[in-house]
Structure formats: structure tokens, C-alpha cells
Subunit: 172 residues, 2 copies
Amino acid sequence: MIIINTGNGKGKTSAAIGQIVRSLGHGFKVCLIQLFKHKFFYGEQNILLKLNNLDFFSFAEFHPNFYFNMSVRRIKAQCALAINKLKYIVRYDINKYHLVVLEEFNIALRDNFIDKHDLLRLVKKLSKKSNIIITGRNASKELIDFADIVTDMKEIKHYYNDGKIAHKGIEY
Amino acid sequence: MIIINTGNGKGKTSAAIGQIVRSLGHGFKVCLIQLFKHKFFYGEQNILLKLNNLDFFSFAEFHPNFYFNMSVRRIKAQCALAINKLKYIVRYDINKYHLVVLEEFNIALRDNFIDKHDLLRLVKKLSKKSNIIITGRNASKELIDFADIVTDMKEIKHYYNDGKIAHKGIEY
């Protein structure tokens, strides 16, 4: 099954994290491949790194604003590593996970940091054996067409818009 | 700060769970008050019950379809217990938690199982000291007006609609 969390509102990543916890709670194995977010920045990562049955791969350099400050070349290199990890799973570990989460892959696709045909092919193969969650704004039409559950997380209101800054424990 | 996860799509509860994990990951104390969901049914609950710094109160009888099968009198009794717990926190433990999650309280409010003025008063008081997440469809206009972040989780697509049943690890 393929699940897509998209939209401009809050909740795409946190819903994926909740889904990981749910899956682990049933004793299933889970894999999280995270783009653009370093594993020592977000609060949830301190907990996730300690949970059994979760393989956690984070492809980002340390700075949290990595995505906004980095050269395209370096972002593409990180994305290539993430896609290689996914290829490895599809080739060698396709029966291993109950759930594979592809964090922010919608953004990587939208900005052409990963190849659409590559990703679609891998996701289609993997989805025969595993549930997949793909997060990030601006999900591609092809992915939406192929998905089983798509949620558009729509911002009705956000204090950011009043010029306030991100809160520890809420936004990160 | 008050955060509302509402809408007809998937992700309201899982985003709240993700937010709990994020908050705990920073070492904050969290309280989860859950209506309509028994603590031994959902996968995530097996993990949540083991995490430090989380106080977890579940107000539901055992059967997962509790809400659909129960008498109004019994549902109201459960909701009254949940509101009492919230009153207790506001009176005696108002400085204790970084985050308080009120799971499915939007539904309880919509169906008049809890008093709107009671809930608004408690939420307003508590929000001076603590972040609050309220989940469930059909959030009330008054709560939305008072909230800082509101996300409408809109269903674009769901395999349920093809008559398929809920999957373990995905929907529960």
C-alpha cells in the first residue's frame, strides 16, 4: 500500500512518525529514509534512534537549514545516496519491512533532485511487499494516481504567518 | 499554543502521536488524554505506554468499535472522566506538561458529549502554560478561532472507499 502525506499544512512528517510508532507497536519492522533532515536535529529522532525494529537512514548534512543553504550539487549527492539505499532495499531486502517511509521525497521529486521514473519504478516494486509512506509538499500527479491513501494537509491557520518563529518540541 | 488536527482524511491522530514523540525527544513531559480508543488496541499504544515522561490516560471501554456500539449514557460517562482529568491538570498540574494531547475531543464536542464552555475555559487556561493538540473531525469554530495552528487533513483518496477493510499497522 502507498500512502502520501502532502499539502502546505503541518502534520506530514509527524503523521509519518506516528505511523512508524503504530507499526513498531505491532512488532513490525520499519525503515525510515529521511532527506534534508539531519538525524540529530529533530526531537523525534532522539526517540526513534532508540526504538527496536526501526532502521533509520538520514541523508542530510548537519545544519537544519541545509536544504536552503546548500549547493544543488551537494543536495543531489545526498538524494543519490537515498535513492541508492532504496534500490538496495528493493533488490536485497524487499521482504524485510512492513513499512518504508520516504521522508520529503515529494520535494526531492518536485525539484528534480531525484529521477521520477527511477522513484516510480522502485516504489511500484516495493509496494508489492511493503507499505510505503511518502511525505512532502507538492506530491506528483503520477504518485497520487498510483497511491492508495492520499491526504492533503491543508493549512487553515499557522502562527508562522504572524511572523513568529518555530518552537522547540512543536516544529522541530 | 493550541494546535488543531481536523478534517476527513488520515493523519490527525498519527500526527499527534508524532508530535508527542518529538516533544519527548527533547526531554519534555507530555500528557495524552484519549477518548474512544482503548489503550490496548492501537499499535502505537504499545510503544507509548513504555516511553518515559508520557502520562497516558485512555477513556474507552475495551472494544475498538466502542463509540459506535455504546449507549449515549456510557459514552457521556467516559467523556466526563476525561474532562475531570483535564480539570485536575488545570487545577493542580498546570506547570507539569510541555504538551497535552486531547485525542478525539473535537468529536466529543461535536456530538455534545462534553460541554463547549467547559472545554474552552479549560483549554484557554491550560494554553498559557502548555501546548495543546486537539484532534478529531469537525473542529468547532470557537476552537479554530482561538487556535494557533489549524490543519485540515483532507482526504484526496482512500482505499476504504473501494470497500476494502482496515489494515493492521496502518489504520490501527
